[in-house]
């Protein structure tokens, strides 16, 4: 391939936020390759200065339109750990259900709206709704359930209302919980249909050895809080998150980049799957087996499959937890607290990977200093280096410009980047 290739995709479509792909091939060699993040920053760490802690989870939720529940949870957790607030057990459970609803909603959005069009050769999900009515029904059913569950446990899907420092403003009534169980049971068969739909799509054959970072589960597949672990053997405490994230600034991105043991690392569904496979629900492991997915995967395109596995995990765990809530006293939904000068870290596994919030709080209960480290921010460097490796392989294979363009876009999409969020 000696003809010069110049690929410039401004504002890649079917991802959240604004990012560009730049690839230049000269004399059959990769001359330039970059994943440029051009999103305009909003400066949340500055907005937070001087804000009272009670309003903090409400502001930080607005960092992201897709994973706002995760942000509110990480934010509340950072404050609660700083002030040593123990939240009531039922509220802990209800929070995890809000989290699961978000994971299911976000994964379904990514798989059906952003990824599926690549495999059905359409620009978007809109024609698919016409041409594949069963896929449309599956999408409506899964996303619909996730949205209804978010409404119940978070107040709504985007920008949750009920998550507050100390717990929740309310926990749904038993009658509402029982109705949601029926809704959930009716949704499970559609998850199976989703897996049957995605299984025949051949994911591109590409792998680059990668360090995967996630929460380290103890007895459950991890979502909220705990130790941090990398597949290269690094293990840190929640409070020591900066030793895992090592953010740095690059010229071609408004988002910071991250590194750990290598030039880059990955977070997200694939990292959680690789690092915590043993803790998956048996039904989720069955999906993994069905998709021929075993831990130790270094093909980023298989993040799509790991998301399917996680969908099954969260729906079955959802069912178990909601049954516990139905059988328990849920009248206590929040703990009271007193403010003092302190600092704290809150970590959760957002749909796209591990998310950290840190605050220093003054004696009046106002934020003095804030730091938010976003999953996609941690993934950008890995996307960037994956792109290099992928394009080099494609040059070797004599692929043409069209195919390189197609696969480069699909690679970025597989990470399900949340670019606005990463820049915040």
């Amino acid at each position: 391939m000696d003809i010069p290739v110049n690929i410039k995709i401004d504002h890649l479509a079917r991802v959240e936020g604004h990012g560009n792909i730049k690839i230049r091939i000269e004399n059959g060699k990769l001359a330039e390759c970059a994943w440029e993040v051009v999103e305009t920053p909003r400066f949340f760490e500055v907005m937070l200065k001087g804000l009272s802690i009670e309003m903090t989870p409400l502001l930080t939720a607005r960092i992201c339109g897709i994973c706002s529940i995760s942000h509110a949870l990480a934010s509340a957790r950072a404050i609660e750990r700083a002030l040593k607030i123990e939240i009531p057990k039922p509220a802990q459970k209800a929070r995890l259900l809000a989290k699961h609803a978000e994971t299911l909603q976000s994964h379904a959005l990514h798989l059906f709206f952003l990824v599926a069009p690549d495999f059905l050769n359409t620009d978007s999900v809109i024609p698919i709704m016409e041409t594949h009515p069963q896929v449309a029904e599956t999408t409506i059913r899964i996303k619909g359930f996730a949205n209804r569950a978010s409404d119940l446990f978070a107040g709504r899907t985007t920008h949750p209302i009920v998550i507050k420092v100390g717990g929740l403003t309310q926990i749904p009534r038993k009658r509402q919980l029982r109705e949601l169980v029926k809704d959930l049971d009716a949704t499970i068969p559609y998850l199976q249909k989703a897996i049957d739909f995605f299984k025949p799509f051949k994911m591109p054959d590409f792998a680059r050895e990668t360090e995967f970072v996630s929460l380290k589960g103890v007895d459950k597949y991890p979502f909220i809080g705990g130790d941090l672990v990398s597949s290269d053997g690094v293990c840190k405490k929640e409070d020591d998150y900066r030793a895992m994230t090592n953010e740095y600034i690059v010229d071609f991105s408004t988002s910071k980049f991250s590194s750990l043991s290598r030039e880059s690392f990955a977070v997200g569904a694939l990292a959680r799957f690789n690092n915590n496979y043993d803790l998956l629900h048996p039904m989720a492991k069955e999906v993994a087996e069905n998709l021929n997915l075993k831990p130790g995967i270094h093909n980023p395109f298989l993040c799509n499959h790991a998301q399917l596995v996680e969908c099954m995990h969260v729906i079955y765990e959802f069912r178990e937890i909601i049954a516990e809530l139905i059988d328990s006293d849920t009248s206590e939904c929040a703990s009271s607290y007193n403010v003092k000068k302190c600092e704290g870290v809150g970590v959760v596994e957002a749909p796209r990977g591990i998310l950290y919030h840190y605050y220093r709080i003054d004696e009046a209960g106002k934020i003095e200093k804030a730091d938010c480290v976003i999953p996609t921010g941690q993934n950008h460097a890995n996307i960037h280096y994956d792109l290099h490796a992928l394009v080099e392989e494609l040059i070797e294979q004599n692929k043409d410009e069209k195919e390189i363009t197609r696969l480069a876009q699909m690679l970025v999409r597989a990470y399900d980047p949340c670019i606005s969020c990463s820049v915040h």
Partner: protein
């Protein structure tokens, strides 16, 4: 498509995101049950978040986010030139939204806090109507999907949308919610434009004012009540300034 025997035009629409969280764009894609019907009324020709199609012949443009760079302002002006109808969606586009909170600090300090000595393109937070003329403002943080669908029906039928003039309190009372004032919370429901079905008070959180001011809002009475209930001036101010919704009042 025909409605009451009349053939409806299927307007071409574009959806564009500026400085914001893209949560309002997500609402458009989020009411799955009605998605097929909604996309039957309009032709989506440019909606980067969910589609690779990138056409320039849109007739209605939906604008999300506030404007914080000159490049964004230029892009917005280009969109305005093309679009017959321009709709600002969400608190960031209509009010500046939470983004405006950075304006409490000098711009160079804002950049230094996050990026150190590294330079970054950013400016003051501006509403869409500070740059171009806006035909319709659809408020909310995020926008409400039913209200978006309601607006699209109006635009397709060529009827001018009439947003509620009354405050959130009216909708909240209609739903027979317990008043959050009685639970000891601040609520801006008495002065905020209705249309959200009182989603926050319904979930036991006082209203934040994300939809902007209702018409003829009585701020003096609200302040009187808030002071009577013992809320500090600082606490009240923080609440009122959250979405930059009442800066003109």
């Amino acid at each position: 498509m025909k409605y009451l025997g009349i053939t409806l035009a299927k307007p071409k629409i574009g959806v564009f995101g500026f400085t914001g969280c893209e949560g309002c764009q997500l609402q458009i894609a989020n009411n799955e049950e009605n998605l097929k019907d909604l996309f039957g009324l309009i032709e989506v020709v440019n909606f980067r978040e969910i589609s690779s199609e990138k056409r320039g012949d849109y007739e209605i443009a939906f604008i999300e986010g506030s404007i914080t760079t000159e490049k964004e302002a230029k892009n917005l002006k280009n969109i305005r030139e093309q679009a017959g109808i321009l709709v600002a969606i969400g608190a960031c586009a209509c009010l500046g939204g939470v983004n405006n909170m950075k304006s409490r600090f000098p711009l160079q300090d804002v950049v230094k806090e996050v990026y150190g000595a590294h330079s970054i393109d950013t400016g003051p937070v501006r509403k869409v109507r500070e740059i171009v003329s806006v035909d319709v403002e659809l408020p909310g943080c995020p926008i409400s999907k039913p209200e978006f669908e309601w607006l699209v029906r109006h635009l397709v039928l060529g009827i001018e949308p009439q947003f509620p003039k009354y405050p959130v309190c009216v909708e909240c009372k209609q739903r027979l919610n317990s008043c959050v004032f009685d639970m000891g919370m601040i609520c801006l429901g008495p002065v905020t434009r209705a249309g959200c079905d009182a989603v926050c008070p319904r979930n036991r959180l006082g209203c934040w004012g994300c939809r902007g001011s209702s018409e003829e809002a009585n701020f003096e009475s609200l302040m009187e009540i808030l002071r009577e209930k013992g809320f500090s001036e600082e606490h009240i101010a923080e609440r009122i300034q959250f979405f930059n919704a009442f800066s003109g009042n």
